[in-house]
Amino acid sequence: MFHSIQAIQDAFANHHYIADRALATTVFLASHLNKPIFLEGESGVGKTEVARVLADATGGKLIRLQCYEGLDANSALYEWNYTKQMLQLRIDEARGIDKDRIGVDIFGEVFLLKRPLLEAIQSDGAVPPVLLIDEVDRSDSEFEAFLLEILSDFQITIPEIGTIEAKHIPCVVLTSNRTREVHEALKRRCLYQWIDYPSVEKELSIVKTKLPHINDALAQQLCNMMQFFREGDYYKKPGIAETLDWGLALIALGKDGLDSNVVEETLGCIFKFQDDIQCAREVNIGELVNRAKLPPDTIFEKIGDDKSAVRSQAASLRVFNNL
């Protein structure tokens, strides 16, 4: 258990994850209030990684449930091992065991196939496990309703065995790529945190922790370029995962700095849609590379300020109109 928000930031940093104060506060409160964390953001910004790092930092077991349309209780909770039960009966018969005793214990735990949710609830390690429910937005309403029930009680009833209550309430992390809105009721049960694309400084420190062999100048240029690309109008903007892929590619190519040729050759690391690659080829990459080589404080002075100013202006207008 963590004692302060700072402790979480430090522990995450030890596991190569740079967490800002907001995310650390959410994780801290979640662990003390026993509430699930709901992480939302574009793909490739490190949502799933939060759960993984949290498990490493606490020493808890990571249990992952990947969501998809049609995911049902059988695959999320438990299933009986029918083949094994059937065979057990046959063996019992062949052994000539007393008829009254055949099949008495086929609904025991040995015949139970534990799926992630049951596993998380039954887990009896010293520290609570971390339950990662990944990409909730891919599941359907039936499953969301089912989750609501599990997340509020942390107990499961199996008719043949009885009710199983959680020994430790697991740390639950739900993630969503926001391909559709997840039901409000589910989100309201959780502590909400939006994970945005990182700022240049944050991305730089992520690159340096994740790729310790990268040279400083290249790392800086890499992060600057990524910021430029994210400003562009692309169908799928590159996330941190893409930055790291690209960094690895450049290291493998033995580059110390960017030039327009190498950027064009490695565009496939950054964009995953042909339209986006085409679009990136149409911008003047040479100019971008030159801009990326300027000292960082001269490039990014105004961008962030402008955007947030416009946003807060729009918001305050709505606030006042409603007062």
Binding site: T25, F28, L33, F38, Y82, D140, S141, R311, N321
Partner: protein, 384 residues
């Protein structure tokens, strides 16, 4: 429990403020926030803010609102909220695409007439795109019964295709292509565990709600006979349907559809819709559509069908935002475009191009024949 005293009251007022400006805060969230305060150092403004944010909002889109409210409320000395409201109205920024204040609407109302006329002149170019076999006469009350019957059958096919889909979930029963072991096992206990009866499962049929949004601006004139037939046909086949038509302004015609015969309905729609054959403001209309129908949307079982040629007079950025909002709320978004029926047409209008990112199917529909083909094309995709 820490005794918060007046802090608790302040928090309650703050949550009420949030509710007032449209951030849906529940009591549970508020309690959870209060509990959070026991764990953090509330003299640190940053931590207090983060704790409030993570507890009280449940969507990134509320973030900006929340920030503003937070900065206003937790300020020392706190200005009286009433005076603040007055001040801000005086110096509010003029260009703000996100806000729809009353003033702006009045402004737009005045402008509508002009835009409409302007569009009329342009519409001749638009008609040049249309295939010749489509009737251009607007008097759609002269239908022969044979016409109607033929149309009805084709539309019925299309409608029943869209209104249902095979779910990924399975239903247990006697028929089906996979065996449900769980149920079979239980059933066969009666026969001593001998698998005499197999219980099977098959995919459930999921019913969808259809939200139909139809463009009746001047450039769509030559298709209006078809469109009206289409709307009525859909309504007959699908129980849960909501329909609206727009050119510069949105008109909800669900009510009219439900209580009238086709002829009466046609007449009434012609009366009710003020801007038939006007200009096109797709973005604004979509936002209005979203606002009107959003409460009845269910992201899992709503299919939005937009029928428009994409000639847009409004702000393309607004169209993009609106489509994005719709797309996130709906199960599928289908854009039926009459112009796609004409050879050589490409969606080059900037409005359409930006919006297409948020459309699942972009399909031609200029007459009943094309609809019949559409049904054939869509069947394998839709039922997969």
């Amino acid at each position: 429990m820490v005794n918060h005293g007046t802090l608790l009251q302040e928090i309650t007022v703050f949550c009420r403020l949030l509710k007032q400006i449209g951030v849906n805060v529940t009591t549970t969230n508020q309690i959870s926030f209060c509990r959070s305060l026991e764990w953090i150092d509330i003299t640190q403004r940053g931590d207090f803010y983060h704790a409030a944010r993570t507890n009280l909002i449940a969507s990134e889109s509320d973030r900006a609102l929340f920030d503003t409210a937070f900065n206003l409320f937790w300020k020392h000395p706190r200005p009286a909220l009433k005076t603040l409201a007055l001040e801000s109205i005086e110096d509010k920024p003029t260009s703000d695409p996100q806000s729809f204040t009353d003033d702006e609407n009045i402004f737009n109302l005045g402008e509508w007439g002009e835009v409409g006329e302007d569009e009329d002149r342009d519409s001749e170019d638009a008609i040049a795109y249309s295939p010749n076999d489509v009737l251009t006469q607007k008097d759609f009350s002269h239908y022969t019964p044979a016409d109607i019957e033929e149309a009805r059958q084709i539309i019925a096919k299309f409608a029943s295709l869209l209104a249902t889909k095979l779910s990924r979930r399975r239903k247990v029963g006697i028929k089906g292509n996979t065996i449900d072991f769980r149920c079979s096992w239980r059933k066969n206990i009666a026969y001593g565990g001998e698998p005499l009866k197999l219980i099977r499962k098959r995919r459930k049929v999921k019913k969808y709600k259809i939200l139909l949004l139809c463009d009746v601006s001047a450039s769509m004139d030559c298709y209006s006979k078809f469109l009206i037939q289409f709307i009525f046909g859909m309504q007959r086949e699908i129980k849960e349907i909501e329909a609206a038509i727009f050119s510069t302004r949105l008109t909800n015609i669900t009510g009219i559809l439900q209580r009238k015969t086709v002829e009466d309905g046609l007449r009434e729609i012609a009366q009710v819709v003020p801007d038939w054959s006007g200009g096109t403001k797709i973005g604004e209309s979509l936002i209005a559509f979203y606002r009107e129908f959003a409460p009845s949307f269910s992201a899992y079982r709503s299919v939005v069908i937009l029928i428009s040629d994409g000639w847009d007079r409004g702000d393309p950025e607004l169209l993009r935002t609106a489509m994005e909002m719709l797309h996130r709320r709906a199960y599928r978004v289908i854009w039926l475009n009459p112009l796609l029926g004409s050879e050589g047409y490409q969606p080059l209008c900037r409005g359409i191009r930006t919006a297409l990112l948020h459309v699942d199917y972009f399909l031609p529909a200029h007459n009943l024949k094309s609809l019949l083909q559409l049904t054939k094309v869509l069947t394998p995709i839709w039922s997969s």
